[in-house]
Symmetry: C2
Subunit: 273 residues, 2 copies
């Protein structure tokens, strides 16, 4: 069981209902240990005011979502790299444990997934160099293979760790139950990652059936992922960070009263995680 | 480019429009080299009449869809194993190159994917023993990870080949572009499979965006999969079988005139495969 102080709220979970200021207050009110803002909400509030409010509320920051999207303009462009440097600075300003990278899918019109993966690795190398200087760990989030075309062409933990091995220190993985629960290699890869590369752990659930591949993620306990088993694996490998709840749910949780969503998260942390 | 004689029609592609008898006539009319029936259509027509009609039309049978579903009743039951033996017999009766196995997902109410995978391997071993006696190759179809919960808990080519290695001769893989196109390991795994384990190759496309994870597969050329590259890999590894077109498409191809569907398949074989 997870006590609330070991849970972090990813703001995407209540993105339709709350501003970042409201998320910060909500986390404090429900006794959560941390928060993980998305950049749009952070910029809306302002980075410095947000940093102060998060600090004043006594919350840790399990991550900043998100950098990456290196294939947004086809080849790697200065604008994309500059945006990633800004993301690193924002992560530093709010004291985030890591900058979470959703690396980008295929460039528009392309079928060249190897080429996309090469662009992504080049982009990650550039961001990493900058992030090392600032002292922000970079966390590659391998996304479910269903997103390989349009969101992220890094799709397994093994693939992400291969990139980390090639790039060296200061980079690791953000593992989200939704994206990894099916992977026959996951146990071996979590052990391979170890404490140094395990930078974030996201929880939610895989619903059966899944009505929409992007916006029908489940609350912990409502699906088929064995969350306690995966959590035990990352903790056995040395991960001591927060359990970040990130649920995209257009038809269910984005329509609920956000205080009810947080109450449910706390209850499910105790009963299902 | 693929000439029609190197294409096989999986009957699922026009399952809403045509009976098996109509599919057989349609394949002959459009000059396709083969067919791959689903068992419901085969049983509806009758196995012997179907076998005769397929032979008379000069069509090869690239596979019979499908055996497997070992987790249908939770633990492996005599009924499930008996149904798989019947599938082997049907595959033999129509001269199929292989029996395609969709192995089954998690048993109802279960979150134990390791347990499901153990049930599946035990079931495959039993079916394989019977199939060896009858002389029918058993082809595990690794399904996209999006189906791990509800359709098949074998989700990568690597995982399928590990099972093959443990079970020995007479078993291999059916690789479908839809399920494998994203896999960073796919090249290595196709080479590992080699001629002996490459029993079937299915083509279609991955649409961006995908509206429905089961029934929104694309016609070759309409999505982002690099079909010619994958075909080149399986052929370099020794595969000489037909290219089987299997498209589940509730909103597009299942609503079209089936002769138009087959015309499109022939045209796309020439232009996009």
């Amino acid at each position: 069981m997870l006590t609330p102080d070991r849970i972090s709220l990813n703001t995407a979970t209540v993105k339709m209902q709350w501003t970042l200021a409201e998320c910060i207050e909500g986390c404090a009110r429900h006794g959560l240990g941390g928060i993980a803002p998305w950049r749009d909400k952070l910029q809306e509030m302002g980075v410095e005011p947000a940093a102060r409010a998060i600090r004043d509320a006594g919350l840790k920051v399990s991550g900043l979502c998100r950098g990456g999207w290196y294939t947004a303009e086809g080849a790697l462009t200065p604008a994309v790299l500059e945006d990633n440097r800004r993301a690193v600075d924002e992560a530093a300003a709010i004291g985030a444990e890591c900058l979470v990278m959703v690396v980008g899918g295929l460039p528009a019109g392309s079928k060249d997934i190897d080429g996309a993966r090469a662009i992504v690795e080049e982009g990650l190398a550039a961001t990493l160099e900058y992030a090392r200087g600032v002292g922000v760990p970079v966390a590659i989030e391998p996304l479910h293979p269903a997103y390989a075309g349009d969101r992220a062409c890094v799709n397994t933990t093994s693939q992400a760790l291969d990139i980390c091995d090639r790039l060296g220190d200061g980079i690791g993985v953000a593992l989200d139950v939704y994206h990894i629960w099916w992977d026959p290699e996951i146990r071996r890869q979590i052990a391979r990652a170890g404490k140094e590369r395990l930078l974030a752990f996201h929880i939610c659930d895989w619903l059966v059936p899944t009505q929409d591949i992007l916006e029908d993620r489940g609350m912990m306990g409502d699906g088929v992922a064995d969350i306690p088993a995966l959590r035990a694996e990352v903790e056995a490998a040395g991960f001591t960070g927060l359990n970040e709840v990130e649920i995209f749910s257009a038809e269910t949780w984005w329509k609920r009263d956000p205080d009810d969503v947080l109450k449910t998260i706390v209850a499910r942390g105790e009963s299902c995680c």
